[in-house]
Assembly symmetry: C2
């Protein structure tokens, strides 16, 4: 795996795209669609698959399988000329020599598009991650699924009232769209799906608490929609604590304000931080780790380096562009257009964000939708949510069938993917087994004699 | 979680079934169907799901998702009266006091049905497991999927011819039905599914070697069917080495006879060993770890303890009952019938195995089927295989849809579940990343400068 460099002056222009999310894929596709023989596009990702993140909470809540919302990046880009895909994690950049350094070799670029997204931020409390996993990857989703389902299994076996209560208390930290979707799905899972399978787990004994630091959930939405979402959540049995700051999380629960809530399962949906790769750029970053980009989406001092999506801080007259899939998509296309403009000797165009609005679902048949033109809530908003997600997923070829199937089972309160799988593949050795502490599946607990 | 004991002489009879595979589920269902108010049935399994093992190789080969072939045991038994399900791993038995000791507490029984199945056997070479995983659990299947797909990704990046060849050499050890199915699916995956996505991986450069210690593959079948299966495999590019003993396996490959085959991916389908729980019975075990059972399926000295399925050695005039799903099912029902006979004061009936024949698929549209009445091979056998598996899966409710969908995508050479997921859920920490050695995903390799 030798360094790939430009050998002659007639060599094609190489664009390296790092990240196969919405932004990176959009950039690679837009570049390839120009069908320029002068252009060579290399997409690097540490995963072999693109993840449809808006539905990731459904994997965590046992409604969908990992394969339902992901697709090999190779397959997505197979029909595009001039694109090659490299599996590898980018660890460092050499902006002067224009080299991307990955775990599977170094690659030279003429243009670089960074679209690595964001990860969770525990505001300096990294130890909380162990007890309160976030939701960004398939592995995290199946880990959350394992914890939630295991908590119900252990509650079914537990004779002690207090311990059963602790097992059946679920805390979601963060009242943004992800937190709301997780809390709603948890409420529904315990009220409907699992109630008939567990003899001793009653809906009334299950608590789902959604903790938000600010004065209302879904702060990015209109206050009226926040109230509507709160009412929908409460109907699903979710308790909402606003204006409440989490000050500690350990394996027994959450300290929120002056209270300690005993809960075996805590999920983190509170903060995100841009990819650590930003630190290699030598530029100042904002509190969320994002790097400020110029109107053409390139960074200061390096016109050949573009940063897009959750990794970038883009501010225009309307404020900061939010970390949403449509924004990443638009930026990916805009960065590609500016690279093509350079090659054709045209002037670059400044990026302009077209706000398509935002949406969040609450449980089975309710949602909130807000655009500049209109606001929706309840069932009609949920239908709009379905419509938009089906439109999106059509690009996933036969996934449409999966989605329709899922909608159907969802409406009927079934959960098709209720699997507790562990992190360990050598199960036969007896290394990974069930333990009463779902956080520590590998520890053994002496059984009662 | 106190010990559950019989409190009075009028307490119901408790049957504890250990294992939620084909045998255990059949026993629990048959007992529950008697609808006796005197009967309390407890099923214990260390996993929350039943696994449809005959299709597990499809998960390993990226054709199906884990959730497609598994179902929560609770859901399967939800409609059956008097059955409770406990998640827990049984570690020990006290046959005198009639207590099952599990990781989630101890349970007293009046009757015990052991249906824990078998695991892989490396014939004393346990170190081989690291380099040549077997295929018994969902975790193992996704681990095999990860290794196979990662090998292709790394081969795509590899400039060195010899190393690429090592990455694209796949060895399957064991020429029984599982080995044949894995080898066939591997041949197909590389020849058809992946060929169009990888620019540098050519079908001709991929080797799949199936190693069998005996004189022919599918030794349990008629020699003519063995030959037919071998021809089908060869058409898919699989090389078959018969009469070849594997003497060593390490991370670089397999020593077979006098030759060392450099291969990064080795799969083990050679031998199984009955559940280690058999060691707690205090009875002699055969070479495969199985315990001999009486004609009524109980063990010597303990009429109240039944052992069924892969865990049991049952020999009648026709020979040894094979370790197949139909045999486990029949034994589960027979053990239940004998327990019910006791309760009704009837005599127990000896178990009689009804041999429905056996089958194995080879790739996309070929199979071999052998019953007492007839032998089939090729496409017609494959249709028979589909028919039988659809019949089986109908019990899985809406899984029929999944199966049909899979058949369709299978025929069209698509693979819907081509995901490389890792064992580690905290990916953001950068702990688990791609490494050129697919066996060691956590090691870092310095990139070329």
């Amino acid at each position: 795996m030798a360094l790939q460099t430009k050998q002659s002056t007639r060599a094609p222009t190489r664009v390296v795209v790092v990240g196969g999310g919405f932004g990176g894929l959009a950039a690679a596709r837009a570049l390839a669609s120009a069908r320029s023989p002068e252009l060579e596009i290399v997409l690097i990702d540490r995963r072999n698959h693109h993840l449809f993140q808006p539905l990731l909470y459904q994997v965590a809540m046992a409604g969908l399988s990992p394969a339902d919302i992901s697709m090999p990046i190779r397959s997505i880009l197979a029909g595009y000329p001039g694109v090659s895909v490299r599996l590898g994690e980018v660890r460092d950049l050499d902006l002067d020599r224009r080299i991307v350094d990955s775990t599977t070799g170094a690659v030279h670029y003429d243009y670089l598009v960074l679209a690595c997204g964001a990860t969770h931020s525990y505001f300096g409390h990294d130890a909380w991650e162990e007890h309160a996993p976030g939701l960004k990857t398939l592995e995290q989703a199946t880990e959350i699924r394992r914890r939630v389902l295991t908590a119900f299994e252990l509650a079914e076996l537990e004779d002690d009232r207090e311990r059963r209560r602790e097992l059946l208390t679920f805390v979601v930290v963060g009242g943004g769209p992800t937190g709301v979707e997780l809390a709603g799905a948890l409420g529904e899972l315990s009220r409907h799906t699992l109630a008939r399978d567990f003899a001793r787990v009653e809906p009334a004994s299950t608590r789902v608490i959604l903790i938000e630091g600010g004065p209302r959930i879904l702060a990015g939405f209109d206050p009226e929609l926040s109230r509507s979402a709160a009412r929908s959540l409460e109907r699903l049995g979710v308790t909402i604590w606003t204006d409440t700051r989490v000050t500690d999380i350990d394996r027994h629960g959450v300290r929120a304000g002056n209270e300690f809530v005993r809960a075996r399962t805590v999920l983190w949906a509170a903060g995100v931080h841009a990819s650590a790769l930003n630190k290699t750029l030598g530029l100042p970053l904002d509190a969320d780790g994002r790097v400020a980009v110029s109107p053409d989406l390139s960074i200061a001092g390096h016109r050949e380096v573009f940063v897009i999506g959750d990794q970038a801080l883009f501010v225009d007259d309307n404020g900061t562009v939010p970390g949403l899939a449509p924004a990443a998509l638009q930026q990916g296309r805009a960065a590609a257009a500016n690279i093509l403009a350079d090659l054709r000797g045209h002037a670059r165009a400044p990026f302009s964000y077209f706000d398509k609005g935002s949406m969040a679902t609450i449980g089975r048949a309710s949602a909130v939708v807000e655009t500049k033109a209109f606001k929706l809530d309840g069932f009609i908003a949920w239908l709009a949510w379905c419509f938009v997600h089906i439109l999106f997923l059509v690009g996933f070829r036969s996934r449409l069938l999966v989605f329709l199937q899922w909608i159907w089972s969802y409406v009927r309160y079934r959960r098709g993917a209720r699997l507790i799988t562990t992190r360990e593949w050598k199960l036969d050795a007896g290394a990974a087994t069930l333990s009463p502490d779902p956080h520590q599946p590998d520890t053994e607990r002496p059984a009662a004699p």
